[in-house]
Amino acid sequence: MRTELTTRAAPAAAPIAQKGPFMPHAIIVAGLRKSYGSVQAVRDVSFSVRGGEIVALLGPNGAGKTTTLEILEGFRARDGGAVDVLGRDPGGKSGARELRERTGLVLQDIAVEPYLTVRETIARQAGYYQAPRAVPEVISLVGLAGLERRKVRALSGGQKRRLDLALGLIGDPELLYLDEPTTGFDPAARQDAWQLVRQLRAAGTTILLTTHDMAEAQALADRVVLLNSGLVVAEGPPAALGGRDAQRTRITFALPAGLSVADLPLPADARGGAAVIETTNPTEDLYQLTSWATHRGVALSALTVDRPSLEDVYLQLTRNGAQPGAPERSTR
């Protein structure tokens, strides 16, 4: 994936009509509702995605992610609420083709026909767009260079997924929906895909992503919207989700032989053979602890310093009734 993306250049006297005033928001969702029979899949979802931003929709299965995504993509009618995608209502009939011209999507399923080659599959899709990216450019972007003539059915699962990604990119979308884009990737392929997503952002593409991979959300997303039971339970930058940044830091180490927690310079809990210190002032406390250890000549083996991970916060917020950890961040 060495190809560089060209940054969207400033307009030089555009030959076609301006499509509307500059919009800071690519997506605005307000009070979205959708039921299937008696099941309320989406009860009240509001969030927005600014142009050029990467936002991750997180949540357990059945939280309403796919339904929300399908309403945004225009595949599903909503029961209530307002949706604006690139200045248009995706549920409206007028301008649907223009909206599809400007959006790309990568679905959860690997949806490619088996008997065409990689190049043919991409070229076919390119023919549907008014101003597609060049086929060879996209092939090398997704890391399929050298496999242009390979039949799709001879590709590995990960390679098919890359082809899927290529089909989402070929139309040169302003807005890209990625539905669990790296499921089934090996770690190296996943890193490549992340690199590609960052390149796309750098080139100005807005991305709405769903994933079950917390590391992915952490690595890529500017903001995370956490759904549970059809509601937004938390929203914010991954580092601060659910008040994660304000929560206590945990210092853990193996209790040195012959010592009890009472001998330590700081209040600590003994858990198994380990000492655990929870603190709001990790810098000061670590200094105290390590100076004490150096003076006493004891080793603090297995020393770790951590804060609740995104996954901890995710589990905390999506389990049992889903009480938002930090109400001020919730957008209910």
Partner: protein, 264 residues
């Protein structure tokens, strides 16, 4: 992006015809690369007419075959069968499978208009049907069936029949919810209809023929038999019945067709 980035790239708003040609080209490529579809579509009807020729090639004109020789009877009915297979059968199964795999959803997410997608499929099916008919007429010729002369009427009947059975195929694909059931449902509907319509042997019951005359297969058989074996022109009465069925299929297809594998 809007106007800014679009301006930076080569613009090519394809003409509608260009879009359909693009679509037909890739449908054809995909079709010919798939050994299974090619075999079922071409080998089966050719084998069928060859076997019929070997069995009944010497049976001359008889009242049993409505005043035709056995092969003059079978060439049009097998030709009709091949069109049914490549339009109705293929589409019902292929579309149900494509929907289940998410391929239809992906197509729907592109700017390709729905009408262009379906026109492409129809044109593809007509092309395949043309090859089928040419092969069957060719084999018939080897057994001494005189070559038809009414090519305009044949083409008209073929295109109308293909359109009708494409619409019915899309309609069946719209009604079926999962791809595994598609081949079974498509064949279950078709098989009794073929027997009833005299595809495999002439039916001499007035009542059955009257019933079958209002169903889609027999009118197509009749409409093809005229120009293929009797050297008559277009059979407007039967073509009208076909067109009516095509319209019914189209209405069901348009109102029930789903692109999304997940039901609403």
């Amino acid at each position: 992006m809007t106007a800014a980035a679009l301006a930076g790239r080569p613009q090519h708003r394809r003409s509608n015809l260009g879009l359909v040609t693009h679509q037909v080209g890739y449908e054809q490529l995909s079709f010919w690369r798939n050994p299974q579809s090619a075999v079922f579509t071409f080998v089966f009807p050719v084998l069928f007419v060859t076997i019929m020729g070997a069995l009944f090639g010497s049976v001359g004109k008889s009242s049993y075959f409505g005043g035709l020789s056995a092969l003059q009877y079978y060439v049009p009915t097998i030709a009709a069968l091949s069109v049914l297979g490549s339009c109705y059968g293929q589409l019902a199964v292929a579309l149900a499978t494509r929907r289940q795999n998410g391929i239809l959803k992906r197509v729907r997410a592109t700017p390709l208009p729905a009408w262009a997608y379906f026109t492409g499929l129809l044109a593809h099916c007509v092309l395949v049907s043309l090859v089928d008919i040419a092969l069957i007429v060719g084999v018939g010729g080897l057994y001494g069936v005189p070559f038809p002369s009414q090519w305009l009427a044949i083409t008209l009947t073929l295109v109308l029949g293909a359109a009708c059975f494409c619409a019915l195929g899309v309609a069946v694909a719209s009604v079926i919810s999962n791809a595994e059931a598609a081949p079974a449902v498509a064949q279950l509907v078709l098989f009794p209809l073929l027997f009833l319509s005299g595809t495999y042997m002439p039916i001499h019951s007035q009542l059955l023929n009257q019933i079958a005359g209002w169903l889609p297969v027999r009118p197509f058989n009749e409409a093809l038999t005229g120009p293929l074996s009797r050297h008559t022109g277009a059979d407007w009465r039967h073509l009208a019945v076909l067109a009516a069925w095509g319209a019914v299929g189209a209405v069901v297809a348009i109102s029930r067709f789903r692109w999304n594998p997940r039901p609403e």
